[in-house]
Symmetry: C2
Subunit: 143 residues, 2 copies
């Protein structure tokens, strides 16, 4: 029901509010700006910089992408790809998806192993030379 695009969301945050809203540190935001990951609003002639709500989304995006295993550099790539190059972003996502898949499989393999080792350890602890778990993992014995 509003008239046009000039009537955008009013709330604009200071860096501290932004940090709190996005759940990161002020210093972290500045760091992201320094490395060019995050745009820094121009400093108004008087007063503090103000950040649009979209900045929260950007920060959340960064955090989420980090959790998935993207490095800040890759995230930067993703974000610039966003500006028009959908196909490339897709390709990156698919690539990352495959990496994640592999990582999951690695973790599962390790998990299976850990589990069986834990079992072995439990059942033989008393009589074993030392510890079946460590033995099976490759037994690092200080000579």
């Amino acid at each position: 029901m509003s008239n046009d695009s000039t009537a955008t969301a009013a709330a604009r945050f200071t860096i501290g509010q932004l940090a709190k809203a996005a759940g990161v540190g002020v210093e972290t935001i500045r760091y992201y700006q320094r490395i060019g990951l995050l745009a820094e609003p121009a400093k108004p002639p008087r007063g503090y910089r103000r950040y649009p709500p979209a900045a929260i989304a950007q920060l959340r995006f960064i955090r989420r992408a980090q959790e998935v295993g993207f490095s800040l550099r890759e995230i930067g790539d993703l974000m610039t790809l966003n500006e028009g190059n959908c196909g490339a972003a897709q390709a990156m996502a698919e690539h990352k998806n495959r990496l994640i898949q592999r990582r999951i499989e690695d973790l599962r393999a390790v998990q299976r192993e850990l589990r069986s080792l834990i079992c072995a350890c439990r059942s033989t602890a008393a009589e074993a030379d030392r510890c079946a778990l460590m033995n099976a993992l490759g037994r690092p014995r200080q000579e």
Copy 2:
């Protein structure tokens, strides 16, 4: 068919051979020694240090544990636990097992999401404002 324990494996490696055998760099081995992760054989009065075959196993252990997500510090803990404290090693293993489980679940969640995003992107790319994938991830739009 050998007599007793004094007739242990004869092959003892120089650091370079050890590095090659374990698939790590010489500098990495030294680094591990510096931080106390790996025992350094005493320097013989003449000649180079010699490493027992067990050192290969130790290095492999470190690498594997790293892949699972143990930090060098944790690996060090694991290795000292090995010297007698089976229960504690078990506890650590179980703890790590739980962490791995959580990590796997996180990754899977992200993966599901990525996949659906990739689909969305593919199907709507032409008409979408920009890119559904990026939108859904939180759409970091440089304002």
